[in-house]
């Protein structure tokens, strides 16, 4: 701004008096700095120089001038610098850095002078470079470099050249793309690392990008031709698609289609039920990710079933990442570092689920000093501690969270419920150790558990356990890899201990152990590969029932355990054919073996499977292969940058899934069991095509994306009407495997910067299932496509946050969804002397639409430097409008009359206050 006002003053001050300029000066300097030179000139000529000392540099001058004008001396002195000078008025000289001060307006400033004499000289446009410092928080981080010395006869374009080298190795970087933001200009370094770029004069934002090299960004103010060298560091994970830090053009440049990220830190401002921070709930506000209902467990991604999501916590699978029937996520929000969600082309290293990957990574523990974070809300208390173990090398992260919901149940008037209890907790322990530059070890342990009991005679317990150990090793510049060992378990128990003689204990568990080796190889910066193998062993105990207590008449019963081995090999490569066009191609081969010991039935072909069509029962010995399935999975995605702020992406992927949840409920419940593919249950398959357009506006302040997808599913698991699942030894007689199809369009508008930020998403998507067979008993809805339970065509989410000051902010969420499909009773009938109800075709009707508004007010503690702890308050109101959103509609017979009832989860506004503390 200062320069600009000077220029204005100049324009106003009129024509200069150049009287002293012509005066001749004789002067000599010996080993003095420029400051001394200027002060001696001041003494001798009576002129005063105005300048900033830092412009002058420390160069020592030895010069002699005899009878020359001051102008000559100054020209000579500043010839090798970016300094210009200007005689302001008598005896005052202003020095400027880079810029030149104009004392007359450019020719034709006031239009063409028609009568002027045409002078035949090369046209030299005067194009002054104006530069105003913009106040923008994000841009402040970019360093500004001024290049070249302005001349009065400046040009519109100058050449910028230079050299890019690897900061660590000192070697030149070839094929580094240098992009000029907002302008369609790109340069690439040659094999020696040199580049040449013609740039408009003035401000340019240069960003560099290359595989294996950390992206960089510089603001260049160009006054003349000049040079700019880049010393760049390697990016840590060469081929990892995951973004380690938020980059404002990531959405444009990322090659992987259908990828979402949840900003864990920003999610603390989003008001959620009972003040619980929850990354999974935030994910449902993103396009393409929904739940079957408010408080329903399980996520549905792009029209997929809830069992088709691979939820990984530090690479270990979590079977049921939700507490309390889905009201809260079982992932401690304070320990999570980042969440990447792949809903389109899933990278080849992941497999085993059809619809999505939720790759959740915990933060690395601090290795410098102790950090503690704690929060207290109406339902849970949470504490996270980070401590160094070996300073600057290793650290330990411990997070624990517990719910004290029992007071809610105890405070009830209802006497029969006084004995009810519901509680949950989860704990996570992580150790990260950087042994040396080339070796790093991470170990994570996780446990979560829910206990609930409605009546004094039954207790339900379900728990997740996960463990992962990962060793990252760098072999050389081009080759690095990691070895992973993970183990996960999910189990539930139902304990019934009443007064009668049928007390029982029912148990279920699924466990998996995986070893995975992944390698990353960089052939050159343009072609990089990622390959590896994985082996996973599953063990399912599908259920057992035992009498509980001496008097129980329950007969002990147990379904034999199931075992299977899933092996996979994968290779993927990222190919940057040009800086604009990149392809990420992956191939995964998965091989599944259902293993004995076990018993399998064979059924008559072309007959419905039931007790009557069993032809053979086969016994398998331990580890004998019962059945083998395999599949080649292709994962392709490509990106083309049309303009630096506009790109298009397309993807294709196919996936196989060998383990399925068995649920004949309309929504997910914690006592749904997982079943391995076997002789009679085939793996599920899916194919997805996706296409997207990504556009950034206004210097990436706004990100817009529009993505479309079409998905085809095969062998998805469903059930005959009214089937029994729990403790069913011959579940294949109840299972139906059918087709599915889903398609949709997802729109996202996100504002990342400024006081007002957040996103708006709209998804139109449909999801259908078809269960057809030549036998009526294996057909649903006459063998035609019908809407899936989670088919919600319109889904709108608005997440917004307004920062009044650094300390106070207000946030609001709004959700609107089409009501989910339901099956209604459509009449009554009498058969065999008994009254029955007849139901409509499956999912023929819909419950009323869902909408909800939540408000939150966040108060940050003050930001005094010396303050020991940093505090944060969240006051939120969930469902401000008090909308009574039906969760389900059902019918009951009451005094011989049938009535329709609806149940809802939160039908009135729910206020809460949460206090967070961090030090």
């Amino acid at each position: 701004m200062r320069f600009f006002s000077i220029i204005l003053i100049v324009f106003c001050s009129g024509v200069m008096n150049g009287q002293d300029i012509s005066k001749l000066v004789s002067i000599s300097f010996e080993n003095v700095d420029k400051k001394t030179v200027l002060s001696r000139l001041e003494n001798q000529t009576d002129v005063t120089f105005y300048y900033l000392e830092e412009w002058l540099g420390e160069e020592l001058i030895t010069k002699e001038y005899q009878n020359v004008t001051l102008k000559t001396i100054l020209d000579d002195l500043f010839s090798d610098t970016v300094l210009n000078y200007y005689f302001l008025k008598e005896k005052e000289v202003v020095l400027t850095s880079n810029i030149v001060i104009y004392d007359n307006l450019p020719d034709r400033f006031f239009g063409e002078e028609k009568d002027s004499l045409v002078v035949n000289k090369p046209k030299q446009k005067i194009a002054p470079v104006f530069y105003t410092k913009k106040k923008s928080l994000n841009e402040a981080k970019i360093s500004t470099i001024k290049i070249g010395k302005a001349s009065v006869y400046s040009k519109e374009k100058y050449e910028l050249s230079g050299y890019a080298r690897n900061f660590t190795t000192g070697k030149p970087i070839q094929n580094l793309a240098i992009l000029v933001e907002g302008k369609d200009l790109v340069a690439t370094t040659d094999k020696n690392g040199y580049y040449l770029l013609e740039l408009p004069a003035g401000e340019n934002i240069l960003s560099t990008t290359s595989l294996g090299i950390a992206d960089s960004k510089k603001r260049v103010i160009l006054y003349n031709n000049g040079t700019l060298d880049f010393d760049l560091t390697e990016s840590l994970e060469v081929l990892d698609e995951v973004l380690l830090e938020s980059n404002r053009d990531e959405n444009i440049k990322d090659v992987v289609t259908g990828k979402e990220q949840v900003d864990v830190e920003a999610s603390k401002n989003i008001p959620l039920v009972l003040g619980e921070r929850d990354v999974l709930k935030v994910a449902t506000a993103l396009p393409g990710i929904t739940t079957a209902g408010e408080g329903a467990a399980g996520l549905n991604v792009r029209g997929g079933k809830a069992d088709q999501n691979l939820t990984l916590l530090d690479d270990a699978l979590i079977y049921n990442p939700q507490h309390f029937f889905g009201l809260f996520s079982a992932l401690n929000p304070f320990t999570i570092g980042k969440v990447d969600i792949y809903k389109g082309a899933i990278p080849a290293e992941y497999g085993g689920r059809l619809s999505s990957v939720f790759d959740i990574k915990t933060k690395d523990a601090r290795t410098d000093k102790l950090g503690v974070e704690a929060s207290i809300g109406p339902v849970t208390g949470n504490v996270t501690v980070e401590t160094p173990v070996v300073k600057d090398k290793s650290g330990l992260l411990f997070g624990a969270r517990g719910a004290y919901a029992n007071w809610i149940l105890r405070s009830l008037d209802e006497e029969t419920l006084n004995n009810s209890q519901a509680s949950f907790y989860d704990a996570i322990l992580k150790y990260n150790h950087e042994i040396n530059e080339n070796n790093k070890i991470n170990a994570t342990g996780y446990y979560s558990r829910d206990d609930f009991s409605i009546t004094s005679d039954s207790i339900y317990v379900y728990s997740n356990r996960a463990f992962s150990l990962r060793w990252d090793h760098t072999f050389n510049d081009k080759h690095k890899g990691n070895v992973l060992l993970t183990n996960s378990q999910y189990k539930f128990d139902i304990n019934f201990d009443g007064d009668s003689n049928n007390d029982f204990n029912l148990g279920y568990s699924v466990e998996e152990t995986e070893v995975k080796l992944q390698m990353k190889y960089e052939l050159n910066p343009m072609y990089k590969f990622h390959y590896g193998i994985a082996n996973k062993i599953y063990q399912v105990r599908p259920g057992s029932i035992k009498p509980d207590g001496d008097g129980s008449i329950v007969t002990p019963f147990s379904i034999p355990k199931e075992k299977a081995l899933e092996s996979a090999a994968f290779i993927s490569g990222r190919f940057d054919f040009t800086p604009k066009f990149s392809v990420n191609a992956g191939l995964r081969y998965s091989l599944y073996n259902a293993l004995g010991e076990g018993t399998q039935r064979e059924y008559e072909e072309n007959r419905p499977r039931n007790e009557g069509t069993v032809t053979n029962t086969i016994q398998y010995e331990n580890n004998k292969v019962i059945e083998t399935y395999d599949g080649v999975e292709l994962r392709l995605s490509s990106r083309y940058i049309i303009k630096p702020d506009l790109s298009i992406k397309a993807g294709y992927s196919n996936t196989y899934q060998y383990i399925h949840t068995l649920s004949n409920n309309t929504t997910v419940s914690p006592i749904d069991t997982w079943k391995l593919s076997d002789l009679n249950i085939a793996p599920q398959k899916a194919q997805q095509y996706s296409f997207g357009v990504f556009k950034n506006l206004n210097e990436s302040t706004y990100e817009i994306s529009l993505e479309g997808f079409y998905k085809k599913l095969d062998n998805i698991v469903d059930f005959k009407v009214g089937s029994q699942i729990l403790l069913n030894e011959n579940i294949e007689t109840e299972v139906l495997q059918g087709e599915g199809k889903a398609y949709g369009v997802e729109f996202l508008l996100r504002k990342n910067k400024g006081k007002f930020n957040g996103w708006f998403s709209y998804t139109y998507s449909r999801s259908f299932v078809k269960l057809d067979s030549e036998f009526a008993e294996e057909r649903v809805n006459n063998g035609e496509f019908f809407p899936a339970n989670y088919d919600k065509p319109h889904d709108i989410s608005l997440v917004s946050n307004y920062k009044f000051t650094k300390r106070f902010s207000l946030s609001a969420n709004f959700v609107y969804q089409t009501g989910r499909p339901v099956t209604f009773p459509v009449g009554q009938f009498i058969l065999n002397g008994s009254e029955f109800v007849v139901f409509s075709d499956r999912n023929k009707f819909r419950i009323p639409d869902f909408y909800r508004l939540d408000l939150g007010f966040n108060i940050e503690g003050n930001h005094k430097n010396k303050k020991l702890a940093h505090s944060f308050w969240t006051i939120s109101i969930y469902n401000v409008l008090g909308r009574n959103n039906p969760f389900s509609v059902f019918f009951v017979a009451d005094d011989g009359e049938i009535r329709a009832l609806q149940s809802s989860v939160f039908s009135i506004p729910v206020p809460s206050i949460t206090y967070n503390l961090k030090f």
Binding site: L412, S458, I671, V826, Q828, G833, V838, F890, G896, F906
Partner: protein, 402 residues
Amino acid sequence: MNLENSAKRRFFRLCCILLLGGLVTTCVEPFETEIESFESILIVDATLTNEQKQQQVLLSRTFRFNEEQLVETGAEVGIVDDQSTRFEFIETEPGKYLTPSEFTAVPGRDYQLIIKTAEGNEYASDFRSLTPVLEIDDLYAERTVNGQGVLGITVFADSSDPQGNAKFYRYEYDETYKIIAPRWSPVEIEVLSKNPPEIQFVTKTEETRVCYGSASSTDVILASSTEFDEDKVTRFPIRFLSKENFLTQNRYSILVRQFVQSPEAFAFYETLKEFSDFESLFSQTQPGFITGNIVSRTNSSEKIIGFFDVSSVSSKRIFFEHIDFFPEGPPPPFINDCETFSPLFFFLGFSPLIDALETGFFTYFNVNDDPTPDEGPYLLVPKECGDCRVLGSNKVPDFWEE
């Protein structure tokens, strides 16, 4: 397996409770819907048996909740076998179609049910053949405690098929019980004139002290030998009567009919049964339309409810008395306390006694030996206490054995 249902039911309730805990006023409330969801569907109740009798087919339609059952009249109903013999049915009362003569299903033949409604829609079942013929091995009653901890008598059935062909059973029962009016009088009051009140005593001509009540099963009772060890049904509970159940106050008899079912018919009835329990709707189990084996020939997408099965039937009857199982007594109480009351014979120009008798709810029991000033001269009791015909038939059933 009811465990699953009860588990889910409980689970669902918890959600409500959490919300009731001061957070939410209600979580379940009436659902107001504009949705017109009624569908009129033909119901076919047809089981051809190997019993020598007039075979029966019942046709009805679905009806709106809380309304009366609608029957399907005017249809042409027939069963054809694989030798193209057609057995016609004749509508004897609305919706009830009987063969004019007795006939039985024969093993080794395939039968198909064909229906043509009055509107001209045609329906046909698939071909079914007679299921294996099997006797009930044993039918017996025992003193037991049921799942709810109630003491009583359970009627059990045992069945087994040495060939292993019969695995699925459906049971129906008819129970008959002797009723003895506890406050019976050999005479009754005959009203001669209301005004002025005038009565006379007459000796009852009809049997009104000992009657026989009867009832049929209203549940779908299904058993499968696959749920038992050794492929047989043992100690399968058909009927539970609590120690206090009036039906066993005197001699009780139960006739159990065992239908050997095809696996498909069994699956159909099993699913029906699952959804007949309204309570289970709380559990969010995925409901749906239950497909039988009858399809429309005129409109393939039309829904029909019903399963035409050709079942072998065997039956067994047993008799027992309460004292056989509970010699210590006491016998179950009568369904009414049978308190007496004595309306005045004449009061302010009318007769409360005659008015009470004319309601039909009371009958004469005895003379009021020691009336208070506001009592009349005779003791009346609720009608069932003095006239057993209210509760049953006074005709001794043919099968009855004392």
